[in-house]
Each structure stands twice: as C-alpha cells, then as structure tokens.
Amino acid sequence: MTPATAISEAKVWEWLEDVPDPEIPVISVVDLGVIRGVAVDDQTVEVTITPTYSGCPAMSVISLDIETALAKRGVEQVRLKTQIAPPWTTDWLSEKGRARLETYGIAPPQEAGGPERCPHCQSQQVERVSQFGSTPCKAQWRCRDCLEPFDYFKCI
C-alpha cells in the first residue's frame, strides 16, 4: 500500500488518466473533461466531477470507477463532489481525447456544429442522420463517399 503521505495531486491526476469513460473507453475521464478538481487533504482525496449532460446515466458508473481506481492505488478515503457550474462544455475535451475519438471512429466536436470529416475515410461529404445517438453526447451521421455510418460527438 502506498503511504498516504506519498499522494500528491499530480499523482491522482495521473491515476485518473487510467480511468476510462465507461461508454467511450478509448478516452479517459480526464480527456472527457469531467474532472474539475483534485484536492488531497491528509488521508482524504477529494475529486470534483461535473456531469456531461444533466441526465447522463454514465455519471454513477464514472463515480464508482474513480473510487475503485483510487482504492486500488491504496487511497483509503475518497470524497466525490459533484459540481454543475460552470457547465461542462466539449471545449474541455483534451487534444489527446479528440484524436483518440477520431481513431476509434467517432468524429470529434466542431464549432460549426457538424463533423469536419468522416472518421473512416476522411471524406468531407458527410450528412446528418439524427441529432441524437446512442449516448446523450453523440449524434448519428453518415459518409456519402464510403457510405459508413458514424457517431459524431455533439458540440455543446
């Protein structure tokens, strides 16, 4: 077990990098931008998280995964705090996270409101199928060139 004195905030951030998003496991909860703060106080690690969408059902799994991951590193006391302000924005996705999304087949969010290109063949000939998708954070699009459907990470 790691002695509590050895825990630094930077270390906790590093450990959280290894906690995958339960619905999009190629990116971590840190890449997703839902970790808003880490504070280490004596024996207790406090992690502040913010929901992506107010009704996102993955939030309870994310909380559980964070507690489990920190417990595995020897942290005995974890306090999770939920914060809704400022509201989560896709601007908080990390560059690494955006790149991983695209490699995985999910087009990363764009200010323009739609994907820049097809994540499979890079064609810009894409069209929207639906504003919503398999999770609250995604919409359904398809490529007119390779004809593959793909998910687009909604920009909010």
């Binding site: 929901p51 107010s54 639906s130 504003q131 609250p136 359904q140 909010i156």
Partner: protein, 253 residues
C-alpha cells in the same frame, strides 16, 4: 397548514415541468416512428429527467423537511404537482408530441437564459446547465415542426391540428401570479410575461417557415402551475410513473 415558501413553490414548478414532460417523452421509448426518432425522444426525456433531479433536489433542500428529490417526484399526488397543463396532456401522435416540445422549448430557452442571471446562485447554475440542453432540443423540435408543417398534405394537416389542439394551453406559460411576483421582487426570476415576446418571435418565425397558422383568440387554460386544476390526464400518468416506488416503498436499483 403554513403556506409553502415562494422559493420552494418556484422550484417545484421548474422541476415538475421537466419531470412531467420528461415522462411524456419517455412514453415513446420503443415505439418511436423510426429508430433515430425513438432514440432522439428518449435522449430528450433523459435530459429533462436529469434537469428534474437538479431542480427537485434543490427544492427538497429548501423545504428542509427530510424529503428527497425522489420523494417529491414519486410520492406526491396530482394536486401537489406544479407543472404546466400543456406538458401533461397526452402525446397523441408524433407530430403533436414534437409540436408540444417546440412550444415549450421556445419558452424554455429565453426563460433559462433569464434565470442564468438569478440572484440565487443555485438557480443560476441549474439554469445555465439546463440551457445548453434546451437549446439543442429547440434546434431539433423547430426543425421537425418545419419539416412536418412543410411536408406532405397529411403531415401538414396533423401539425395544424396539433397547433389548434395545444394553443389554448400556451397562455399559462406567461400568466404571472403571487409566486412569480415574489421571485421577481427578490431578483430570483423575472416575471414570466417578460419572455413572452421572445417566445412569440420564435413561434412566428417557425410557423411561418412551416406554413402553420396561429389560432385566433386568447382563451387560456390554467390551473397546472398552481395545482388548482390539473387535467384528468395527470393522475393517469402519475399512476404509471409512480407505481414502483409506491408499491415497493424504499425500493432501490
């Protein structure tokens, strides 16, 4: 019995609007006209239920009687609900469901924008979070209203029937009462009537693009926001929505 505090009443109104519409939308889950629409309706419902947790969670804290957001949602009777009548009437067809969603979204966007300036920080935070979702809902509902209004003869007829059927329920959105006056005096929320123009502008532009006509007359049903006179539909809806926690008190997932 002591009259409930205006802030509690105000928070119930926000939470109950989101809850009742969220439940109505969830009734489409598995029976949507196309898979994509089914998913969209369920996702909209999910956002609204999430917003409900924030509003009713704060309401429960303000009330300070030991009740939780779940208790407020599942253990109150119809006359204790404070939602707009517009949101509790049955879905009927897909067109009418989306028309109702549009009429509410067009209100919710300017309303939540204004609440973002609330003197109560919790109200401002919940509004700012909900606003992002409401904007996305409005994009979709307005687009669908236009697509169906300016669609086939059948879809146009159904959308016009939806407007005609729902119009008399829209006036309640802007009918200020003593709770609204109290909220306005404290800077917690503006008067409802102050967002009417913004709502009307969105409705006018969308209906014009959809070739839909606004009905004449200003008759407005009321009684939902005060709880004085709900429609007979709310009790039936709650009977379904509340059956599990009422039949199995204390049940958890």
């Amino acid at each position: 019995m002591q009259a409930p505090a205006p802030l509690f009443e105000f928070l119930l109104r926000q939470g109950d609007n989101a809850l009742v519409l969220g439940h109505r939308m969830s009734e489409w889950c598995g029976v949507g006209p196309a898979l994509e629409e089914d998913i969209a309706l369920a996702n909209t419902a999910l956002d609204l239920i999430g917003q409900t947790q924030l509003w009713l969670g704060y309401a429960a804290e303000v009330e300070d009687e030991g009740r939780s957001a779940d208790d407020l949602a599942y253990l109150r009777d119809p006359y204790d609900f404070r939602n707009l009548l517009l949101l509790e009437v049955p879905n009927q067809d897909f067109g009418r469901t989306l028309m109702r969603q549009f009429l509410f979204d067009a209100f919710q966007v300017p309303w939540l924008t204004a609440l973002g300036q609330s003197s109560d920080q919790r109200v401002a935070d919940i509004a700012a979070k909900s606003l992002k979702e409401a904007r996305y809902h409005l994009d979709r509902s307005a687009e669908t209203v236009i697509a169906l209004g300016d669609g086939t003869e059948e879809s146009h007829t159904r959308m016009q029937a939806a407007v005609d059927g729902l119009w008399a329920y829209t006036g309640e959105m802007f009918a200020d009462d003593e709770t609204d006056a109290a909220m306005s005096a404290e800077g917690i929320a503006p008067l409802l009537s102050s967002v009417r123009e913004a709502w009307r502008a969105t409705v006018d532009a969308t209906f014009s693009a959809a070739f839909l006509t606004q009905p004449e007359g200003s008759f407005a049903h009321s009684g939902g926001r005060t709880g004085a006179r709900h429609t007979e539909h709310l009790g039936h809806m709650l009977a379904t929505m509340q059956t599990l926690p009422r039949s199995h008190p204390g049940a958890v997932w």
